[in-house]
């Protein structure tokens, strides 16, 4: 297991390096750079005639005139060595300041959504497989299709309405008014948790629908395995048998797609965030792209991809733990 972990760890670091190169290239892809944008913004409508030389001067000021390779090493070096993501041009401050708390709030939403998805879908999927063909099973299938068919933002609106009616007014956003600008405390964390469940439910909804069907399908296969009958034939109590034998293998496809889930949740987040009035990174990423504010965009992309790569690493370890045969093929 140690050897396997180390191999995967090395693999993860290499992947992260390659990913950082790709992120940097993506940052370079849009035509023009922040120097153009800055000149346009500062001087448009002022009647000042901006020459190519002026833009070149701005470019030099911002350090955008250096060769690409050099800028890549400056950028990644700053992140790795000093945790410095560079300057957020459009905000005229550092990226770290712009992103600030949003990282943790986004991570909070991401992980609570993941957790909720698995806590709900795995037991229900197992139950549906065990009771295959029953009314409950068919009911869950209908729910699954509903889950897949409903757009997130609509669900968010509906939930917002009902949450408002049943639980009192202030449910949008991630904090109550009294905590919004307060410094971190136990009360603030609790307040955050009280607000997190709503976006988590909205974002988890479709994933739960998919994963229920995944778990139900693999669990149905596993339940028919001879090893399950054999275990039953030696008198293992049913509940223990279900958890120990078929479930362990049935959650394999769920575990192996953790990385995809992270990506999907992040992509769906901005729309839901707009409806629910959340502060998170997705919307900031869009704005950074519009402004050609590459350091901000790069920082967000890098964090997202690193999270995905890291979660893939976690899912590899989990898979190896779930199924010891996997280590052989490593």
């Amino acid at each position: 297991m140690l050897r396997f972990t180390l191999e995967r760890l090395v693999g993860m670091v290499i992947t992260m390096l390659l990913v950082s190169v790709m992120v940097f290239l993506i940052m370079e892809l849009p035509p023009g750079d922040y120097a153009d944008r800055y000149a346009f913004r500062k001087y448009s409508g002022t009647g000042v005639n901006v020459t190519e030389a002026d833009i070149e001067a701005i470019r030099r000021d911002l350090g955008l005139d250096k060769p690409m390779l050099l800028r890549y090493f400056d950028w990644i070096g700053g992140i790795v060595l000093r945790g410095d993501f560079g300057q957020a041009f459009a905000f005229e401050t550092s990226v770290a300041k712009v992103i600030g708390d949003k990282v943790w709030l986004t991570a909070g939403i991401l992980f609570s959504t993941l957790l909720l998805t698995y806590i709900v879908s795995i037991p229900i999927g197992i139950f549906a497989a065990v009771r295959r063909g029953s009314a409950v099973d068919y009911g869950l299938t209908v729910f699954s299709y509903l889950g897949l068919a409903l757009p997130n933002f609509l669900l968010a609106l509906v939930m917002l309405y009902f949450a408002n009616r049943w639980f009192g007014a202030d449910i949008g956003g991630l904090f109550s008014d009294q905590y919004r600008d307060a410094s971190w405390s136990v009360g603030k964390v609790w307040d955050l948790i009280k607000h997190l469940w709503l976006p988590a439910v909205v974002l988890a909804w479709s994933a739960v629908a998919i994963q229920i069907q995944t778990v139900r399908a693999t669990m149905s296969d596993e339940l028919n395995k001879l090893s399950v009958t054999a275990a039953r034939a030696r008198g293992v109590p049913e509940l223990r048998l279900l958890i120990k034998y078929p479930t362990r293998l049935a959650i394999n496809p769920v575990v192996s797609t953790i990385g995809f889930d992270v990506n999907r949740i992040f992509s769906e987040l901005p729309i839901v965030a707009v409806v629910l009035g959340l502060t998170e990174l997705g919307e900031l990423l869009l704005r950074a792209y519009l402004d050609l504010d590459m350091n901000v965009a790069g920082a967000i992309l890098l964090m997202l991809t690193f999270t995905i790569v890291f979660m893939n690493f976690v899912s590899d370890l989990l898979l190896a733990w779930l199924d010891p045969r996997i280590k052989l093929g490593a």
């Binding site: 395995k225 001879l226 090893s227 009958t229 054999a230 275990a231 039953r232 034939a233 030696r234 008198g235 293992v236 109590p237 049913e238 120990k244 034998y245 362990r248 293998l249 779930l322 199924d323 010891p324 045969r325 052989l328």
Partner: protein, 336 residues
Amino acid sequence: MPKMLTVENLSISFRTSEGVITPVHDVTFGVEAGRTLGLVGESGSGKSISTKALMQLLPGNASLSGETRMTYTDKAGKEIALGRLKTGSKELRRIRGGEIGMIFQEPMASFSPVYTIGNQMMEAIMLHRGLKKRAAREYAIEMLNKVGISNASARVDQYPHELSGGMRQRAMIALTLSAGPALLIADEPTTALDVTIQAQVLDLMRDLQRDLGMGMIFITHDLGVIAQIADDVAVMYLGTIVERGPARDVIRNPQHPYTQGLLDAIPSVEHLHDRLKPVPGDIPSPTARPTGCPFHTRCAQAIAGTCDVTAPTEVSTIPGRAVRCWLHSDKDRNAA
């Protein structure tokens, strides 16, 4: 000898999308303590599901007929009606494994691939022998030794995929026997193995059965294997027992045309240049069970107007033996 297991009028039906099928039809058999009953038949003859019914291992769409009686006498001498045990009851779990053990055809598939051999053995030992973890592990190693697995104390921590096919089946035997069953059901335990390994495993099973004084039901499609291991034999065709009796007698002097066909179908080294003689025709689908004698569609000696109309009843022409066939019933009727 007292019977440890009696099964009477066992009929099993399945609800399927094509309607109700009854792959096991009014089957009666028994097992005596310390003896081996061989159940022989082609695939789909209902051998496996008959034994699975004993331990309530059939899928949810299966049901037993009202006339079915399955009585098992446990190690303490208590009579238990197997069909009446509640699902999930402690009594049923005690019977499963602790009183009646089961070995399956594919040793690879009957172990879970994600737990070590030892883990799965210790589970059974702790459940049925009430031992603590450490003692259960010792016992597992002892059992692995007993079935001829070398270096058992290392093997116990290996996963099933790290063992060869023959070793796996030995380990499965060790696992099943470690729960201490009085009756062992072996469902084609050697079919998936190489011939040489097959012989070793058969020898092992026979020896263990004698040493432990267990009753055994040995399911196979191979009458050659029956000759080696079984005391009594019951030949099944399409869910009914067509012939039964002491194994040697049945093999030397088969009465039912189906048994004769099965024996003729065994390839022989002495007749290398002859063509093989399979039993002609295919097993009819369980959804289209023939009227009358189920075998008449493939039987060379079928009597038109009799065999395809009425099902024969079981008659005993030779003491200790029974056959379900009009060819013999006629003689019987004439004699009477």
